[in-house]
Each structure stands twice: as structure tokens, then as C-alpha cells.
């Protein structure tokens, strides 16, 4: 079995060295690496970042189920977003849609916490800093969480053609949180329901075209790490090793500055 390559600091390949990427992303894109900034408010904190003298709004703290997962102080963040025409929030230009990736290596320069000011409010926050202020789940006090019936291979889904399930990642990362579980669950369920003959796992190494024209490339070896991890997980949740193939492509995907987050991925192809 091949040894994993050493984990290395992300490589910046300057656009001049890669003429195909040198054009930069569209003008309304803001793709950059910078320190996140947290600004407190009377309710929940909002997250910002500064790029070329402008403050950008990334999102607010919500919870587990939110689409936006805030970054970490103590780490730089890769921001990949589009400038919207919405009013500023917390003083920042709103990026929407946005994808953020806390970078793995620590950076102690990124420790800015701004106090609450009356002029910055978050009226749309779906919950405050404390307990949820909506009715408890299912609208009933004491309601239990979502049904927890045991998962048995269902016969409901009739066997049909090959299907793909995609696990997406933040930059330079593998799975270590719950966001990646839906596609793996769906792939597993489909494979069991269709008595799949083969399950192919292919992972990719991404790259991000930044607004300054440079390219931020994921570490060598990240695709292998992703592929092996997804392969292991699928086996642990019930897919036999003999039906699986695990591959990875360690060549960085060509970035365009728009949908680069979608290319940091592992594709699970289930073939009934």
C-alpha cells in the first residue's frame, strides 16, 4: 500500500506561471484568504473578513443545521463568494452565495473580536445566543427528535441505473463532521436497495482561483486521504469491500473562480 504523501502547507501557484488560470475570476467574485473577524451583537455574533480594504460579511452564528458554518479565530479562512446587492450586514458587504473553509494551520494573527455596537443588529437571526426560541421540535413540548427507526435495507427503491453521490469538502480537509453524512447515507442506502454490483469511489484534489489571479491548490495527497476515508466509511456502514473500488486523482482540478468548491469532492458511483 502506498504511503500517504507528507501533509504540506497549501501551495500557491501564481497565475503568471499558469497562463490558463491567469485571467482571474469574474469581477463580482471575491475569492481570498484572510483572517476572519467576529463581531458581537445583542443577539448572535456575525462573521466578517477584510480584503483589500473592504469588509465583507460572511454569515452569522446559527447552529448545527445551518447552511453557514462559521470559521475559527486562530485560523485564516478561504472565502469563495459572490458580491450581492443586499444591504450591508454588520458593516460588511454581503457575499452570497458563499463558501468558507477554515484553513488547517493555525495563525495567531487571526484573533480579532469586535464588541457589540447598537448600529449593528441581526434582526433575521433564527435563534439567539441561548436556547432556541422557536417551539420545540414537532411543535410539541417534549417532542422527540426525528424518528430513529432502525435502518434496514429497503425494497422500496426499484433497481435502476447507476447513480452518483457527491461528498464535498472545505479546502484541504477530509470528513470530520456531520455535513458529509447525507451523500454517504444515500449511497449506502441505494447500494443496498439495488443490490449494487459495484461501488466506485473517486476522490479529487481541488484548487481555487483567487481574486488576485493566484491559484490556491490543495495539498498533495488530499485526494488519496479522502478516497480512503470514504471507502472505509462505506464499508463500516455495510458495503462489502469486494464490491468496491477506491481511486483518487491527485492532479489539481482546473479552477475557474466560480464553482471551485464543487470540485473538492469525492464521487461515489453506485452501479446496480
Amino acid at each position: 500500500m502506498a504511503r500517504l504523501p507528507l501533509w504540506r502547507t497549501a501551495l500557491v501557484l501564481w497565475g503568471v506561471a499558469h497562463s490558463a488560470w491567469a485571467a482571474g475570476p469574474p469581477v463580482d467574485r471575491r475569492n481570498f484568504v484572510a483572517c476572519p473577524i467576529i463581531r458581537d451583537t445583542k443577539t448572535v455574533p456575525c462573521w466578517l473578513s477584510e480584503y483589500k480594504g473592504e469588509l465583507y460579511y460572511l454569515g452569522v452564528q446559527v447552529d448545527f443545521g445551518s447552511e453557514f458554518w462559521p470559521p475559527y479565530l486562530g485560523h485564516k479562512v478561504l472565502v469563495e463568494g459572490q458580491v450581492s446587492d443586499e444591504p450591508r450586514i454588520c458593516g460588511g458587504v454581503v457575499l452570497k452565495p458563499i463558501k468558507i473553509s477554515p484553513l488547517p494551520e493555525a495563525d495567531e494573527n487571526c484573533r480579532t473580536m469586535l464588541p457589540a455596537e447598537d448600529r449593528y443588529t441581526i434582526p433575521f437571526a433564527t435563534r439567539g445566543p441561548g436556547p432556541n426560541n422557536r417551539p420545540s421540535r414537532n411543535g410539541l413540548p417534549g417532542a422527540t427528535p426525528a424518528p430513529v427507526a432502525p435502518t434496514a435495507p429497503t425494497q422500496a427503491a426499484a433497481p435502476s441505473g447507476p447513480r452518483e453521490f457527491v461528498v464535498l469538502y472545505s479546502f484541504n480537509n477530509r470528513i470530520w463532521n456531520v455535513r458529509a453524512t447525507p451523500p454517504m447515507q444515500q449511497a449506502r442506502d441505494y447500494a443496498l436497495a439495488t443490490h449494487a454490483k459495484r461501488v466506485e469511489v473517486v476522490a479529487y484534489r481541488g484548487a481555487s482561483l483567487l481574486s488576485d489571479g493566484s491559484v490556491y491548490v490543495e495539498d498533495e495527497g488530499v485526494a488519496e486521504m479522502r478516497a480512503r476515508q470514504v471507502g472505509e466509511i462505506l464499508q463500516q456502514v455495510g458495503l462489502p469491500a469486494a464490491a468496491m473500488s477506491v481511486r483518487w486523482d491527485d492532479a489539481p482540478q482546473k479552477p475557474n473562480g466560480v464553482d471551485d468548491p464543487l470540485r473538492r469532492k469525492t464521487v461515489i458511483r453506485v452501479i446496480p
Partner: protein, 569 residues
């Protein structure tokens, strides 16, 4: 290529995908119910009935090596008369409800299925070589755990001959002179039992897991991690950590229903990895029984505990295991009287208090809602009730305020692995109830483990070295160095100093170092000290730890209100 190895295809140097079979596979095995649906059957599930988890054979070997000091246990007439200490093999009836005094009042233990005769019951009988029973460390009077006060009393009363002080894990190390109290200092001072785990970690099929980090012993005040027979460099390499016995009560909240996301809780909420399976049913389990989640069910926990703590040398019978699990599932424990506040379970009082409410309430309920709090309502204690004494009134008001501090008072939660990394951001502005969100117990309804900083430096309670202080470190200290092939720990980097690597001793993962499964809040008054490493000797020290850890800046009033609140649970 082994029969069950997946095909692994590596890219060429240019990154072009090409296929090649390898001789080694990824993780083997699959759960039986899943395999049945596919045409190709996997091998039998490791850890299935009749087997033990992968780490247990090594533990068994060490347990068999440890000397047996105590003679067969004799019921202690002093304790038996007091009805407080359940000695192994002692005859007697556990009444359906028994109240036991503690420093804050009284705790009541309830047998939901009716009185239980201890004589002949495997939970109370000495089943192994050292004369202990399960009840030795899970005493009803101590909320089904064992307090350090009780440990010290037991030492005084028996001159250290009680099986509680068995060399295998009731001493700092089996190689120490067992008659000396200093050899049992962690049990006497902190109520800690030695937990010995093989290194490198073992998968459930017994194969070695390649850890993502190296471990070095920096400090070894107990001598056990550097011991030639019991240590990390011994022929049976073992890491010794020291942990509090968890309470065996209110277990319906601990074992289920499945906690994680995905249909049937197939994944662990905190890290997105597959949940452990019940080897008998093939269903995912809560993974909330043990501090490192290493045993999936009460039954497998009992198997391991008998081997390691009781030195049985092998598995208990199916009948014994069933009796133990059945007993554990029907025990409820909660504080019922306050020394100052009087009865906690009067009609019209707080609806979450006492063991009867614990028995009747639903499990698996998320309590992090304003309309459905974790420990339900204490509002009725904010207004006077006829007949209350001034002291009662004052105490009850304080408890009600403490419930609000617990539930509503925000602070910045930072650098908690598997909390700040799971959608909250770092830091997150939230309250105690964000993590302690399961109704009735204050456990976390999202399964998994997190690193609060109780065992990792710099936040773990550890004495400052000083020539002017007599305080000496009691706990071992390990240096963890994370491999460069994996991302660094987001909050510690690649080097972590810890008293107990926690879940990482099982998973081998860098980001699990110091991560521990949260435990329940019930019966706290009866079972000091607190945290898995017993580092908070009192409820005040527990509150102070959080105050320092997150720079909360609680007022003295808030601290006392929180203590009073915790004392009635």
C-alpha cells in the same frame, strides 16, 4: 489481494487515474444486516456474540498478571447495619426506594421493577478473583458511582483491605506496595480507577489501528506507564489513565435511542464517522456509555468490566449478563431532599427532580428550547409557597436562578474540539445548555465526544511547579505528536500535552485527543469529585473550572446559584 480487500487504484505521477489491485485492504467487515442485502457476503461481524472487543484480550492479559491481594470478601457488619455500603456477596433487599444522606441532602435510588435481592445477583456478587462486585464501584448511596469520601471511609474502616483497593486498578499501579495508602492515592484523593488500554489501539477485530500520533510519557507519578510489566514499553504495551466510575442509573437516557444523524443514527453527530454497532442487533448505538465510547452496549461493557475490574479471566455467562443489564436499566437515581431547601419532590414542585420523574419522562428529548428546557421548569420556585421557611425560600429562589444561569446565560465557548468545529464556529456565543441539552440528564443529545480541556494542558487542572509549593502533580502527563500526514489539531496544532488522551486511545485520531463523552448531571450531590479525571473536588471547583476555561466572569451570586441548582439534580 485478500478476499475482502477493495480494489484501490492509485494515480500515476501525472495525476491520471489508473487502476491497480493492492494486496492490502481497507477496514474489513460489515454489519450482518447490510451484507444480507448484497450479493457478496462479508465476513462475520467482529465483536459478535461470543467474542469480545478487540482491546479486551490485552486487558485480560494484564488483569491476569496483577497480584490478588484481598481475600474473599466478607460482608461488613458496620456498613451492612447502616445500609449504606453494599459489600460483595452481602445478603439484603434493595427496597424499591432507598434514601441516602449526602452533604447536600438526600438522594433516592429507585428500583423501577421492584425490590431486588442482592444475594445471588451478579451485580452484587463477587464474580472474579479479587472479590469485587459491580456494586463495589457503583454504590446506591453514591448515586450508583462511588465518591472519594466513601473511598476514604472504606480505607479507614478496612485498613485498605476492601476489594475496592484491588491492585489491578484500585491502586496507582499493581506493582506498587499495596498496603501503603500512597499506592492508592488517586483512588483515595480523586476516586479514580486505573483504566489500562492497549497501545497501539485495537480495532474491534483485534487488529492494530495505525494511530495518527505518537505518545510519549512525560511525567509518570504513578509509575505505571513506565512500569516494565504494566507500562507502555512492557511486553503487553498499555497506557494507564485514571478515570471516575460513571453512575449506573437513569440508563435509558444513556443507551438510547440512537443519537446520530442519518436514518437509524448510522453516523456520529460530532465527527460524521460511522457509529459503533450493537454486535447482536447490528443497529447503531448511542456511544454514550463510557467516557471513551469504547464499548457499544451495557452488555459488552459488563463483559469488559468483569475482566478488567473483577479479574474474572473470561466472559460472564449469558444469564449473568442479562441479569446485570436488566438491573442497570431499571435503576433511577436523583436527589430528593435538600439540606436547606427541604423536599425536592413535593407535588407542584420542579417536574424533573427525583427518580420517579426520571423513570416516567421520555428519553431522547432535546431540551435546548425555551418552551422545553433541559431540566424542565423551576418557575414555581420563584414565588413563595405557604409554609416555607425563610431559608427554604432563599434556597429555592437560588436554585431557580441557577437554572436560568445554566439555561440562558451566554458566554463565549471556544476551542472545544467537536463542538466549535461542528457548525458553531470558534468562538460561539452560547450557554451551558448548548452542549448539555438532553432533557432530564444534561447529556448531549448529539452523540460523540468533545474536548472541554479537563485533561489537556494548558487548561487541565495541574499544579504549577514551584519550589515554594508542596503541591506535586498526581496525574500522568503524555506528549502527543500528531503525524504530518494528517491535518493538525485545529486548536492545539501538532503537539498536545495531556493527562488522558481520552477517545484518541481508542480511535487513534489526533483530533480526538482529550475528547471525552459527556456524562449525566443526576445525583451529583452524592458522587464528588467531578469530571472524568476527578479534578473538581467540589461543585464549586466544577463551576470555577468553567468560569476560568471560558472566561465567563460569573458573579459570586451566579456561582452559588449554579451550585445550588446542580446540587438538587
Amino acid at each position: 489481494m485478500t478476499p475482502m480487500a477493495p480494489r484501490i487504484d492509485r494515480p500515476s505521477r501525472r495525476g491520471r487515474v489508473r487502476r491497480r489491485a493492492l494486496t492490502a485492504g481497507l477496514m474489513g467487515g460489515a454489519v450482518a444486516y447490510a451484507a444480507a442485502a448484497l450479493s457478496q457476503s462479508p465476513p462475520p461481524a467482529p465483536g459478535a456474540v461470543g467474542e469480545v472487543a478487540g482491546h479486551v484480550p490485552a486487558q485480560n492479559a494484564q488483569a491476569a498478571t496483577a497480584p490478588i491481594r484481598s481475600p474473599g470478601p466478607e460482608p461488613d457488619p458496620i456498613y451492612a447495619a447502616a445500609g449504606r455500603w453494599w459489600a460483595p456477596g452481602q445478603a439484603g433487599l434493595l427496597e424499591q426506594e432507598s434514601a441516602y444522606a449526602n452533604p447536600y441532602g438526600k438522594l433516592t435510588v429507585r428500583m423501577a421493577s421492584g425490590p431486588v435481592e442482592a444475594k445471588g445477583h451478579p451485580f452484587f456478587e463477587p464474580l472474579g478473583a479479587n472479590g469485587r462486585s459491580c456494586a463495589t464501584c457503583h454504590q446506591p448511596a453514591d448515586g450508583m458511582s462511588v465518591s472519594a469520601d466513601t473511598v476514604r471511609q472504606r480505607w479507614r474502616e478496612t485498613s485498605g483491605r476492601d476489594p475496592l483497593f484491588a491492585a489491578v486498578d484500585g491502586s496507582n499501579c499493581p506493582s506498587l506496595p499495596q498496603a501503603e495508602p500512597a499506592s492508592h492515592s488517586l483512588l483515595l484523593d480523586r476516586g479514580l480507577i486505573r483504566v489500562f488500554l492497549p497501545w497501539p489501539p485495537k480495532a474491534k477485530d483485534g487488529s492494530a489501528i495505525k494511530p495518527e500520533f505518537t505518545i510519549e510519557v512525560v511525567r509518570d507519578p504513578t509509575g505505571c506507564n513506565t512500569d516494565p510489566v504494566y507500562g507502555l514499553r512492557s511486553p503487553n504495551p498499555m497506557v494507564s489513565v485514571y478515570r471516575r466510575p460513571r453512575p449506573v442509573a437513569n440508563m435509558k437516557y444513556v443507551v438510547g435511542p440512537e443519537r446520530g444523524p442519518g436514518s437509524g443514527g448510522l453516523f456520529i453527530a460530532k465527527n460524521g464517522l460511522p457509529a459503533a454497532m450493537d454486535p447482536e442487533t447490528g443497529r447503531p448505538v448511542s456511544m454514550q456509555i463510557m467516557s471513551d465510547a469504547r464499548e457499544p452496549t451495557l452488555k459488552t461493557q459488563a463483559v469488559e468490566a468483569a475482566i478488567t475490574h473483577l479479574q474474572t479471566g473470561g466472559k460472564l455467562t449469558e444469564g449473568q449478563l442479562k441479569q446485570i443489564v436488566d438491573f442497570e436499566m431499571q435503576v433511577y437515581a436523583g436527589q430528593t431532599d435538600s439540606r436547606i431547601g427541604g423536599s425536592l419532590v413535593d407535588p407542584g414542585g420542579p417536574p424533573a427532580l427525583g427518580p420517579r420523574n426520571l423513570q416516567s419522562a421520555s428519553n431522547g428529548v432535546l431540551g435546548d428550547y425555551l418552551d422545553n428546557p433541559v431540566f424542565k421548569s423551576f418557575e414555581m420556585w420563584k414565588a413563595p409557597v405557604p409554609g416555607e421557611t425563610p431559608a427554604q425560600r432563599s434556597f429555592r429562589e437560588s436554585v431557580a436562578r441557577g437554572a436560568d444561569v445554566f439555561f440562558l446565560r451566554p458566554f463565549w465557548i471556544s476551542n472545544v474540539m467537536h463542538l466549535n468545529t461542528v457548525g458553531m464556529g470558534n468562538p460561539a456565543k452560547r450557554t451551558c445548555a448548548t452542549c448539555h441539552n438532553m432533557q432530564m440528564t444534561g447529556m448531549d443529545l448529539s452523540n460523540g465526544w468533545m474536548d472541554l480541556g479537563t485533561t489537556n494542558l494548558p487548561t487541565a487542572m495541574d499544579p504549577y511547579p514551584s519550589p515554594y509549593s508542596p503541591a506535586k502533580p498526581e496525574m500522568p502527563l503524555f506528549k502527543i505528536t500528531c503525524d504530518k500526514s494528517v491535518p493538525p489539531h485545529p486548536f492545539y496544532g501538532r503537539v498536545i500535552y495531556t493527562q488522558d488522551p481520552g477517545r484518541a486511545l481508542i480511535s487513534g485520531k489526533c483530533n480526538d485527543v482529550g475528547a471525552i463523552v459527556m456524562q449525566q448531571f443526576r445525583g451529583l450531590a452524592a458522587r464528588a469529585p467531578y469530571f472524568s479525571n476527578g479534578s473538581a473536588k467540589t461543585l464549586r471547583e466544577l463551576v470555577d473550572f468553567y468560569d476560568r476555561r471560558f472566561d465567563i466572569k460569573y458573579s459570586e451570586q451566579e456561582k452559588q446559584d449554579l451550585i445550588n441548582f446542580l446540587s438538587v439534580l
